[in-house]
Amino acid sequence: MKRLFLAVLFFAVLIALWEWAFRAKIWSPVLLPAPQQVAEYLKTTVTDGTLVQATVITMRRLLIGYVIGLIGGLPLGLLTARWKVFHDTVGTLALGLQTLPSVCWVPLALLWFGQTEAAMLFVVVMGTLWSVVIATDTGVRHVPPIYKRAALTMGSKRLHIWLKVILPAALPFIVSGMKQGWAFAWRSLMAAEIFVTILTGFGLGQLLHYGRELSAMDQVIGIMLVIVVIGLLADKILFSPVERFLHRRWGTNP
């Protein structure tokens, strides 16, 4: 309760400072709108559906791309951990591509796929995939060999060992890789949406882009706030519960 109160107080003070800066006219109101103007913008766009629709479009792109990245990344990571051939080939490729900032995929995606949903999806998948491959690979390599030996003597066989021993044992690594993949995917999608105008749907990035074009600072700040809140919520709803479970089970410090 006290923590919640402090957090609320902190953000109230931030907004108060903002309001003060606006009233003191330090910057032109075109560059720094009042908190109220931003709130107005958010209210209007929520009511007329623009914002909700943009959020839905963005989240759909993100989730579909992310899930594809996971479905591809997990087995690839298992392959690279299991066989040297895959480690030397796919593993090296993954390591190289993971160091590539995912924004760098945008020009290529545009040339390959044009102004389409596929370009968006491609960028998100590339943001997710390599992180997941590398995390899975590292996780599996860190599984103490004794787990496998113990499972073998209990009558566990190949597939059972992979599913019931190696995969859960590697879970802490895999989850942190999934989290990193999520962060990369989210950043690259925003970059892609700002760069690419797609007629099949306006996402949050596109709203942000048009906010700049129209010099509508209330829109720019409003959309940025929405993006921050989505990031926070994803962390709290998707990853925090899993991480809490892992910390409790493994006895690691949160």
Binding site: I146, T153, M154, G155, S156, K164, R248, R249, W250, G251
Partner: protein
């Protein structure tokens, strides 16, 4: 219940199985290292009777753990055979469960989950049967209160007791123990000697117990085999004729232990003399 014939299976599952007879015949195993080929086991032959508690003692690197792994089926010998009840051992299996020096418990499962793990691999058991069986063994190692605990919350001794319950759960014929108490403090260890003797008596298993602790071997074993290193061989055999339960601090036990320690040391001196 629809599967009427399964109602009796918990009793069936908990019924004593006949312990195995092991025959190890001229088993050799060598490892290649940078220093060259090391002969870990040199034509080792030994027999373990049904429900016998056999202890193997030797300095580190004498091949005793290798032999245990071969009996378990985790490693293959270069030559020689291992027979369990007349059948050759070719792969690991739940007839011969292993307890390692590390508890090797799975941290993603709680205590009950760990004991359930081998039971889930046994066919023809309902969910309820498995839970009943697991709970029976947790009671046997006196950890019923901790069935929902996470592994990292347990002490070292408790972890090994969970590992023991997990090894006993699928009702194996043989228990192979590789220095399971080496990492524990003396008091906990002594308590576990008591537990292990009590459980061995009530569950009737053939046990092969590897250790470098001579007093531990004398306290637990019907028979103690002394292994000599480089190459690993059976150097000497001691039959321990002491009544059970044995007191680790008794004079009789100490007498046996000093005899074996003496033999162990003379073996080491012999080795040093031949090496120079």
């Amino acid at each position: 219940m629809r599967f009427g014939h399964k109602t009796g299976s918990v009793t069936e599952e908990l019924a004593l199985v006949s312990p195995s007879k092991l025959a190890i015949d001229k088993v050799s195993k060598s490892f290649r290292s940078r220093a060259g080929t090391v002969l870990a086991l040199d034509r080792v032959s030994l027999n373990v009777a049904e429900a016998e508690f056999l202890c193997i003692v030797g300095a580190s690197g004498c091949g005793k753990s290798t032999l245990l792994n071969i009996i378990a089926g985790l490693e293959k010998p270069d030559s020689g055979t291992v027979l369990a009840d007349g059948k050759p051992v070719t792969a690991p299996g739940r007839e011969r469960l292993v307890m390692f020096q590390e508890p090797a418990l799975f941290p993603w499962l709680d205590v009950l989950g760990n004991v359930l793990f081998p039971l889930k691999l046994k066919p023809n058991l309902t969910k309820k049967d498995r839970r009943d069986v697991a709970k029976y063994y947790l009671e046997l190692v006196e950890l019923t209160r901790f069935e929902r605990a996470n592994i990292h919350e347990l002490s070292g001794g408790m972890k090994q007791r969970v590992a023991l319950a997990r090894a006993l759960a699928p009702n194996p014929r043989v228990l192979l123990m590789d220095e399971p108490f080496a990492a524990l403090d003396a008091l906990t260890r002594e308590q576990l000697y008591g537990d292990l003797q009590r459980i061995w008596k009530s569950r009737r298993k053939t046990i092969v117990f590897v250790t470098h602790n001579v007093r531990e071997a004398v306290c637990l074993g019907d028979r103690v085999l002394l292994f000599s290193p480089h190459p690993g061989r059976v150097q000497e055999e001691f039959v321990i004729e002491l009544p059970r339960p044995r007191d680790l601090n008794s004079v009789e036990l100490a007498t046996y232990a000093s005899r074996i320690t003496h033999a162990l040391k003379s073996g080491a001196q012999f080795e040093a003399a031949t090496a120079t």
